[in-house]
Symmetry: C2
Subunit: 334 residues, 2 copies
């Protein structure tokens, strides 16, 4: 008899990461494909499906794939949809319905930041916490909020969008059409914009001056900051300042036990965490000072959202209280 596995897929603005997960939460295999934000969603699903099926072939004699859990920006778990995400040009699509044409097994979807929060809650730093917030720092900025051990969903099944809190009136233009959203500063794309702003403002020589906007990544800025590049260091300080202040405002209303940073840019660790913590504490109400931890996800290889997504369809671990009714999603979408 074959062992059961589930697939977790984390769709980001830049890369889509996926992993086959055993019932105990261990990885069997993980990989990623680029997302291409301007590609047609049908083409994306074909690429993703081919990749998954090719890999699964090698394991199919020993393992049975029993379900797929998707983490995606602006996803509604109630409707099975992805609804006009800021950083991928798909508009509103019924993603579960499209994927069901390729896989006749249970498929569930949830917001990427909520999936990460679920991953942290089951397998990471969120274990044992009642109130915490996961912030995903990828191409954009997502928020997964756990209150009383439950993920926060709106009536339509959407998660909160803390990344679209306006932190600078008339600030940077956001893909959502508004100006000054937090994610235009605190995200992989945000820090890239900050680097260009700093280059425009200052005269200090920096290796970042040799790299185009298109080619610049959070990793490059990270590596140069570690080598002492002044612009790169300033970019992290500025990002941490904006993020720390915004998190202090969020914590003032929510009073969580911890805020866990996850996603590409969180990989920079103390470079980002240090200024974030300083400006977070500085801007907290005195009764909250020292009470809210800012942590970096401990789940290796940035897999919190993949693990959280896969757990949506894992019969053994799916005992969380969030209202994801996989079967009704499937019925609706068939």
């Amino acid at each position: 008899m074959r062992s059961e596995i589930t697939l977790g897929v984390d769709i980001g603005g830049t890369n889509t990461v996926f992993g086959f997960i055993k019932e105990n939460g261990e990885y069997l295999f993980s990989n990623s494909i680029p997302t291409h934000p301007n590609e047609d969603v049908y083409k994306f699903i074909n690429r993703l499906t081919n990749e998954i099926k090719n890999i699964y072939k090698e394991y199919a004699d020993k393992y049975l794939l029993t379900g797929i859990g998707i983490a995606a920006p602006s996803a509604s778990n109630f409707h099975g949809t992805i609804e006009t995400p800021s950083n991928i040009n798909w508009g509103k699509v019924n993603f579960i319905s499209l994927l069901k044409k390729h896989f006749q097994i249970p498929i569930a979807i949830t917001n990427d930041a909520n999936a990460a929060a679920l991953g942290e809650y089951k397998f990471g730093l969120g274990k044992g916490l009642k109130n915490f917030i996961v912030i995903t720092l990828g191409t954009g900025l997502g928020s997964g909020i756990v209150i009383n051990g439950n993920l926060l969903y709106s009536e339509g099944g959407l998660a909160g969008e803390f990344g679209h809190t306006i932190v600078k009136p008339n600030g940077r233009l956001c893909n959502c059409g508004r100006k000054g959203c937090l994610e235009t500063y605190a995200s992989a794309n945000g820090i890239r914009r900050t680097v260009f702003d700093l280059i425009a403002r200052y005269n200090e020589p920096s290796e970042l001056q040799n790299i185009s906007f298109t080619q610049m990544t959070g990793e490059i800025i990270n590596d140069l900051a570690l080598k002492g590049d002044t612009i790169a260091i300033k970019a992290f300080q500025y990002t941490g300042k904006i993020l720390g202040k915004a998190l202090a405002n969020l914590a003032t209303s929510f009073v969580p036990e911890a805020i866990i940073l996850f996603g590409g840019l969180s990989g920079s660790g103390e470079l980002l965490l240090k200024p974030t913590r300083v400006h977070f504490e500085k801007n907290l109400l005195s009764i909250h000072k020292g009470k809210v931890k800012i942590l970096k996800s401990s789940i290796k290889n940035g897999m919190a959202a993949v693990l959280g997504a896969s757990s949506l369809v894992n019969k053994k671990t799916n005992n969380h209280a969030i209202e994801i009714n996989t079967s009704s999603n499937i019925e609706k979408n068939n």
Copy 2:
């Protein structure tokens, strides 16, 4: 046999309102005393107790007082404390313990905005809603957040303090010691400061120029705005703009079904609600536009917090899910 009644007390920065409430939620009697923010808490409790006992005397032959529920700023329901509220100079006091010296019946306490949220949830516009926010616009600005039908509390039993979200970096000095907090703009005290700022900036004649800062109240500004006073009208527009923007940011993370405004300044109705709604909608993420209602509390005479507080100790209505353990509070504080 006497009918059972409970007492609800809503301690504000300016007035303390209280009411004797029958088991079915109807009023028997309500009144108020001034708070005097710089008065010693012991003196305040003596004044409050005398007032309550004098009134209760007249009803004691027909009604039995079975419990007291207190709504106060910065109150912790876990510890029975009021913890350094911004607008009353009591520092941290164990209010239940002090009041128990005068009344040997169950006493519970909660944050004023949470009490108002509880009042709305049981008796007002919050009935049937799962996710909503009550904003109290009194001397300061409080927030009571209901998620999945539960009031949001921190680990220490404190509520969120949305009024201390920083909306203007280096803005008005707040009683909390920081600058630019929302409540320095959107509250009875905030609009008073706005009037003085407008008088300083502009030359337009206004009856508000004849009133001192000490004597100016939200009601006076309200009455003059209704008579067409330009400064008073501008003050409401500015207050609504700041409040609407801040609520849009809050709604972006929480995605509530409704935001209910309560407390003194909300009495101005459309004068405040209209600009608030305009700037709220303008600053919402497109997927949220038109989905979150901004309402004025429907509970008459601004009694939502009194009703909510009284329900904490009402055996018949205290079937809500918030974790207020009256008996353990009492044991702790005796």
